[in-house]
Symmetry: C2
Subunit: 338 residues, 2 copies
């Protein structure tokens, strides 16, 4: 498989996260200070384990969104630094628990915390970060922000359980799958953007527009991630290719390929998702079927659809550097695959 | 070992939780309604798994304390129903995660959720309950309550990690152990009591007095639990006797017996805690040493000390049915052993 770039605007230069990163670079230094200061504890294992993941080269996508949305709205205060750190703590807590749940071995190109420190410590440090995130929100003092983020947290957990329930069930359909990623991934993207409107004291329409931007971006992001899991190059994003396949996760590429397959192919997908075909040869065959049936291409087409909706949601906000960076972030998200 | 009752007032009738239970019986019905309504989800596994533990015959000690303290202060509203449910959700979430961390098989005389549904579902449903507890607090709308409970949650998680770090380390001393149980157990007892003063709009002295009552009761409670783990009768509290022993948990009985032992005994404790002596015969020998060195008796004496401090903290509040019930709850807590 070769590296094809799928942009929303064919012919345009390859989109990048750089404009977003440089837009909020000095804000992000503040956020990093908050993160470092507030992941400390008298119990040394906590900063050690949390730091492994937090310092471990993530893109800080969600806090970047909080900062950039605040910039879009011309917010001039400092509350978004604390709240962006809060969002990153929630995200980190869910990643730690995800790794325990999936029994993952690699994330962002590094060994996962559960592999190094074991499941018990990983579960408990996740709990600590989650509690700490609420402490930070309470320090900020906005009940509206608390409502948005506590609601998102409950929805994320619900989505994770729903995903677990759908695991190894080839009957999972596209609607169900979209509900799951809306909850487990898009809800936090949406909340990260929406809280910027709260700190900037904007009206509910602005809140909902940023919620929609974040939610659609989050769905696009997850769809592309799910496609990347079947990329033939195992180094992409530091994740192991085929993790979802081996875990029996029913993602959109699989749903589409299964729906379009003949009887023999559908039997293959059922066997694979139920855990009876997990060899490297099976994975290679799965990748072949995904290509053959256009399932990967169509997953990426769906991602572009949600990307377009994300960009449309920004329509009400003034043009400028922040808006351009947020738009290019969407284009980057959908262009990552392969 | 025979059933000896250790009361704060020798000669008095055996203390019971009944006065506390009947004091808040109608309030507790309201709390149970909130709990049942708010553990629901469109994802059926969530109420199924959560309900197994929540309906599973726990004493609801912490929400009872919130309700009884509110009664002590003459509070006449309904906010304490929501907040007591919140406290129970936090507690349930930590129990679910504890069972995963310890790999426990039995709790309250039933198979644990992780044994029935597996670790992944148990971790995630714990996360859901924890998030839901914050949603409930946000609905209540008091930033002061949010501060108390989010702070307690972070301290609990810190205490759990500290306990994990101390596990299998015979060097853990009494001070360190007390710090750990103050965090992992007493912090939530303290918060459960303290928030009653917030909803009753009392001053900080009243808040701190109830905090002290709950904290000291919590420590007493945990000390007695740790002694019970070495009771010879495996049916006590539905917990398996010797769980702590086999998990290499350094609790006060062990700390005292180790400190008082001769060289051979200290070698035994080191081997046991480091996991090289975990047979039934080893456990029987451990129980013998605990008796011989007076370690169990002194653990219970420590529990009575904290119990007395809990009762003293109630001094500022008016005598009456609520105060008597709260005092008897302390006497019950320290009299449970053996």
């Amino acid at each position: 498989m070769t590296a094809t770039v799928h942009t929303l605007h064919p012919g345009a230069p390859t989109p990048s996260l750089d404009p977003l990163v440089s837009l909020i670079a000095s804000d992000m230094n503040q956020v990093n200070s908050v993160i470092l200061a507030r992941m400390q504890s008298e119990v040394p294992l906590i900063p050690e384990l949390a730091g492994h993941l937090i310092a471990g080269g993530g893109k800080r996508m969600r806090p970047m969104l909080t900062l950039a949305c605040a910039r879009l709205l011309g917010y001039g205060g400092t509350r978004h630094h604390t709240l962006a750190a809060t969002v990153e703590f929630i995200h980190t807590a869910t990643l730690l628990h995800d790794d325990v749940v999936d029994g993952s071995g690699m994330r962002r190109g590094k060994r996962t915390a559960n592999l190094i420190w074991g499941n018990p410590a990983t579960v408990l440090v996740g709990d600590f970060l989650f509690s700490r995130s609420f402490e930070l929100m309470v320090e900020d003092g906005s009940l509206r922000v608390l409502r948005i983020l506590s609601g998102a947290s409950a929805i994320i957990a619900e989505g994770e359980v729903a995903q677990l329930t759908a695991q190894r069930r080839i009957e999972t359909d596209e609607d169900r799958y979209l509900q799951i990623i809306d909850a487990k991934t898009a809800a936090l993207f949406a909340a990260a953007c929406r809280i910027a409107a709260v700190v900037a004291e904007r009206n509910e329409e602005d809140e909902l527009a940023l919620d929609s931007y974040g939610r659609n971006l989050g769905i696009a992001f997850q769809l592309v991630d799910d496609a990347i899991d079947y990329a033939s190059d195992g180094t992409t994003m530091g994740k192991d290719t085929g993790d979802d396949f081996r875990d029996g996760k029913v993602t959109l590429p699989v749903i589409l390929a299964h729906a379009r397959g003949d009887e023999v192919q559908r039997r293959f997908w059922k066997d694979a998702i139920e855990g009876r075909r997990t060899s490297d040869a099976d994975l290679a065959h799965a990748i072949e079927l995904l290509e053959q049936t256009g399932a990967v291409a169509d997953t990426l087409a769906r991602a572009r659809h949600y990307g377009q909706r994300a960009i449309a949601a920004l329509g009400r906000f003034p043009d400028g550097r922040a808006k351009s960076a947020l738009i290019e972030a969407v284009e980057f998200a959908v262009a990552r695959a392969y």
